[in-house]
């Protein structure tokens, strides 16, 4: 009845930092278990012969989405207290495209580059330096792009709210899409297996 626990004052900021560390361990652990500490496996997604990125990402999304929905409907979690970051459509679209390019070039995303660095991959360490440098560059040119950065604000809006469809229906559609995607992914892996370098 009283979750999210932190927002109900069950514990303070100092404990929340300990929890952050523990949750981070879980996060990093499963990322490495999936093989995401390895740039070759991550990049393989974009040549279709290894669709692990898609499979992991969407099974994670569906798991958390379903879990959160049912915990809320059953009254255990107050969904309105879970933070949804505000949407800025245009910069997020452009930022996504840019990040995608960087992902294919660099071979990692920020989270997985940390995992790679932690398991000894030098390219992961170098990628981390690149990310830090990119963020610094962004900070320095920020005054020039601030208007674009704050363009098209839409607030913390969810798909059900935007489309005027029930949360449950969107959830169902996402599940369908994910399951369908997994089938297609399996098919793609077989079809493009010849691209796998050996």
């Amino acid at each position: 009845m009283s979750a999210p626990f932190y927002k109900y004052g069950l514990f303070g900021d100092e404990i929340s930092l300990v929890i952050a560390f523990l949750i981070g361990i879980g996060f990093g652990f499963f990322l490495e278990r999936a093989g995401f500490g390895n740039a070759r496996k991550l990049a393989a997604q974009f040549y279709f012969y290894d669709m692990t990125v898609f499979k992991v990402m969407f099974s994670a999304i569906v798991t958390a989405m379903i879990g959160l929905y049912y915990l809320s409907v059953l009254g255990f979690v107050d969904l309105s207290l879970v933070y949804v970051s505000p949407t800025f459509l245009l910069p997020q679209v452009v930022g996504g495209l840019i990040l995608g390019v960087g992902f294919a070039v660099g071979g990692y995303c920020p989270g997985t580059s940390a995992v790679a660095a932690a398991t000894g991959r030098l390219d992961g360490v170098v990628c981390l330096f690149g990310i830090v440098a990119g963020i610094f560059f962004f900070g320095e040119v920020f005054p020039a792009i601030e208007t674009f950065y704050r363009a098209t604000p839409m607030g913390s809006v969810t798909l059900p709210q935007l489309l005027g469809i029930s949360y449950g229906l969107i959830l169902f559609l996402v599940v369908l899409m994910a399951l369908g995607g997994f089938l297609l992914a399996g098919w793609a892996e077989k079809k493009f297996a010849h691209l796998r370098p050996e």
Binding site: L17, A20, R40, S85, L99, G100, A116, I135, G139, L159
Partner: protein, 184 residues
């Protein structure tokens, strides 16, 4: 000096254990994310911690400059505590630890450079830095990266996050053709 791995084998020589099945790892990841929702009322992230790091360094070197810059100022807050005193920073430290733990348990700790068979070590490292730089810019524009926006925002059905996620795949697939010599 560094060995490099250029074959995508799921189990290498000696005692490297195979990776988990993608769906199993994905469900595990989803449960961790769910825990964050239930305990903290927020999701995961990564790029924000690096922003805090950059802000801390810039502020140490040039405090006035940092304070006058709206981007750094957001991470400096009211100046009462360090930007590193932040949930995301501790979470990312945990990511390093968790990744190391999993790698150690599976015998997958290796000083190496992951790359495809047709590129040199130097070339790979250059592209790793360049890719990271590009991602740093993209992640800040989008207010997050795949961990925070795609994973967390995706599970929360946030509009911007789903748009972001689609664009990440689009951008990556588009770029993949041009860097194919790096990987295959």
């Amino acid at each position: 000096m560094f060995t490099s791995s250029s074959a995508v084998t799921d189990h290498a020589p000696h005692r490297e254990r195979p990776y988990w099945h993608p769906y199993a790892a994905g469900i595990g990841l989803g449960l961790v994310l769910l825990l964050a929702f239930v305990i903290m009322g927020r999701g995961l992230g990564a790029s924000g911690a690096f922003s805090s790091l950059v802000t801390t360094v810039v502020h140490a070197v040039a405090p006035a400059h940092a304070q006058n810059n709206a981007f750094y100022q957001e991470y400096l807050g009211d100046g009462t505590k360090s930007p590193l005193h932040d949930w995301l920073v501790f979470e990312v430290i945990g990511v390093f630890a968790g990744g190391f733990l999993s790698g150690a348990l599976a015998g997958r700790l290796r000083t190496t450079i992951e790359k495809g068979p047709r590129i040199s070590n130097g070339g790979r490292l250059t592209l790793a830095f360049l890719g990271g730089f590009i991602m740093g810019v993209g992640a800040k524009l989008a207010r997050g990266c795949t961990s925070g926006q795609a994973l967390t925002g995706g599970a929360l059905l946030s509009v911007g996050s789903w748009a972001f996620m689609l664009c990440v795949f689009a951008g990556a697939y588009a770029a993949a053709y041009f860097v194919r010599r790096e990987w295959i």
